[in-house]
């Protein structure tokens, strides 16, 4: 297991109006991983990032990055952290290269045109380096945001909804770039609404809602623990009741006995094995079926269940 690069303990934030954005968050991020923080709007994702990056003043709790307390060693820590915020925010009258060079400068790095060009090339921005940011397309502007965050070669990079509002092609392109960053050793924490994004890229996933972390685990482990298999078996003739030979399985009769619905398994193959046994039993008992549809629950299903059921039921289910 990798060592931790970020350690958050008891982090809380209550805004002036009384809104509690974070209600005692404990979270450890491992060096070199891609960590996806999932949560609905207002869950506390951006506040959490803001607290680490210095944009938000926490009400309580401690944040240690690179083994140093962020509150006391903020200069040293911030030099090693990059942030791509959710909103496009820059001086739009500035040229791309100058804007990126400025970002490198305020993070205390010496001017390095070659490195700036390298960053711009990696984001397909090199040809636009003398263009004013306001003249770029929305997707290009988002790349500029990433270039600015990478200009000082951060070891820990926060991406707050990096692909919000970008088209599918650009989203795939950004996933590739994020993968390349990880390959170079950058630890990445991303927040996203797109479960597909987390499934595609993340090593570990955290689910946050109402300022509380509901679950943190390896992506595969979450699917293993909380994943379910569903099978919809359409019968030739309706059944009045489930045959006793199938009573051990998580089955129900639906649509007036015409559909045998299975919801079970563990996300690690048990569901598929049980479906095979159910089908063999149906054949052995002469129950004719005319169609089968099976589906493995996705991270999205798990996320929705977690958020809907709340923290208590989620923990119980995971245990």
């Amino acid at each position: 297991m990798s060592d931790s690069i970020l350690d958050i303990r008891g982090l809380a934030k209550t805004y002036k109006g009384g809104t509690t954005a974070l209600a005692g968050v404990d979270l450890t991020i491992r060096r070199g991983e891609i960590f996806a923080l999932l949560g609905p709007n207002g869950a506390g994702k951006t506040t959490l990032i803001g607290a680490v990056c210095g944009l938000v003043r926490p009400t309580a709790g401690t944040i240690c990055a690179f083994g140093q307390d962020v509150a006391h060693h903020w200069r040293a820590v911030r030099r090693r952290i990059g942030l791509v915020p959710q909103e496009l925010a820059f001086d739009t009258f500035e040229q791309v290269e100058r804007s990126v060079a400025y970002s490198r400068g305020i993070f205390g790095c010496p001017p390095d045109r070659a490195r700036i060009h390298e960053v711009l090339r990696s984001l397909s921005l090199y040809d636009k380096r003398h263009t004013k940011i306001r003249e770029l397309s929305g997707g290009m502007k988002r790349r500029v945001m990433i270039a600015k965050a990478l200009a000082h070669d951060p070891e820990l990079l926060f991406l707050d909804e990096p692909t919000a509002g970008v088209d599918v092609e650009l989203r795939r392109d950004m996933w590739r770039q994020i993968g390349e960053l990880r390959a170079r050793g950058t630890t990445i924490i991303l927040t996203t609404h797109y479960i597909e994004e987390a499934e595609e890229m993340a090593d570990r996933v955290g689910v946050i809602d109402k300022g509380r972390i509901l679950l943190v685990d390896d992506k595969a482990a979450i699917i293993g623990k909380l994943g379910r298999t569903e099978a919809r078996i359409t019968l030739d003739r309706p059944l009045p009741v489930i045959p006793p030979s199938l009573s051990a399985y998580a089955l129900s009769l639906e649509e007036d006995g015409r559909v045998l619905q299975y919801r079970g398994g563990d996300g690690a193959g048990k569901g598929r094995r049980e479906i095979a046994r159910i089908l063999r039993t149906l054949v052995a008992e002469g129950i004719v079926f005319e169609a089968i549809e099976t589906r493995q629950s996705s991270l999205e299903d798990i996320f929705v269940t977690l958020v809907e059921n709340g923290a208590a039921s989620a923990r119980a289910e995971a245990a």
Partner: protein, 256 residues
């Protein structure tokens, strides 16, 4: 490293100057035009009917006042826009998440404001030579005083830019407070020309001390002692530094 991030301060300073030079024509033409108009209206049209004041011609008398008038409004506006615009666009996130604190921020913003103010002063004084003959009795003190005023009012503008949460508020103080006080602060006349009680009332106006401080460096005479002028300007600067340090410590209007 936990020491000062001087590269960060330099980056802010350079960025601010680049912003100034992007609008260089407006930055130069505006003070040239304004100063020329003042000289035409006050210096030529009215000044011809006024005798010497304090041993200098009326045209030469109003040079430091006009310089102060432009200096105060331009420095305050520049500094307030410098921090307000990133807040307005959201780009301030970068400054807040960077390893720069109050010291680096002030070096960057105040340093840039001071350089801009010196350029403006040079432009205004060059324009003035087209209309009047004047001399600067204490040129080094004049340079120092311009820098002191520029630093103080760039800090003041910085505070305004953080306080303002809309464009109207951003304009209120320079337009409705600074400019009227400057006009009433002895820019175009000596307060000794006022009868009582207006002379005493004028002494309540802090701009009187700034205008007269600069006038002393130009002519060697002023309506109020130079020490008081310098002391008040320094005091204002210190208060502004204190306010900004408090803003950074508490995160007022900057951090959530």
């Amino acid at each position: 490293m936990s020491g000062l991030n001087l590269r960060g301060a330099l980056a802010i300073l350079t960025n601010e100057l680049m912003r100034f030079f992007r609008t260089i024509y407006g930055s130069i033409l505006s003070p040239v035009l304004t100063t020329s108009l003042y000289f035409i209206v006050f210096g030529a049209a009215i000044g011809g009917r006024i005798e010497e004041i304090g041993g200098v011609s009326y045209g030469a008398f109003i040079v430091p006042g006009l310089l102060m008038l432009t200096l105060l409004s331009e420095t305050t506006s520049n500094a307030s826009f410098g921090i307000y615009m990133p807040r307005f666009t959201g780009a301030v996130y970068e400054l807040l998440s960077a390893p720069v604190g109050v010291t680096e921020t002030l070096i960057g913003f105040v340093g840039a404001a001071a350089i801009k103010s010196l350029l403006l002063a040079a432009i205004i004084l060059t324009t003035a030579t087209l209309f009047v003959d004047y001399t600067i009795v204490h040129p080094f003190y004049a340079l120092g005083y311009v820098l002191l005023v520029a630093a103080a009012f760039s800090l003041f503008g910085f505070i305004l830019g953080i306080w303002a949460d809309n464009f109207e508020k951003l304009q209120v103080v320079p337009l409705l407070i600074l400019t009227p006080l400057t006009f009433l602060g002895g820019t175009f006349y000596s307060i000794d020309m006022l009868g009582e009680p207006w002379r005493t009332v004028a002494l309540v106006n802090p701009i009187v001390y700034l205008v007269n401080g600069l006038r002393w460096t130009f002519t060697g005479t002023s309506d109020v002692p130079i020490a008081i002028s310098v002391g008040m300007t320094l005091g204002f600067l210190v208060v502004c530094v204190g306010v900004i340090a408090t803003i950074f410590r508490t995160g007022w209007r900057l951090r959530g």
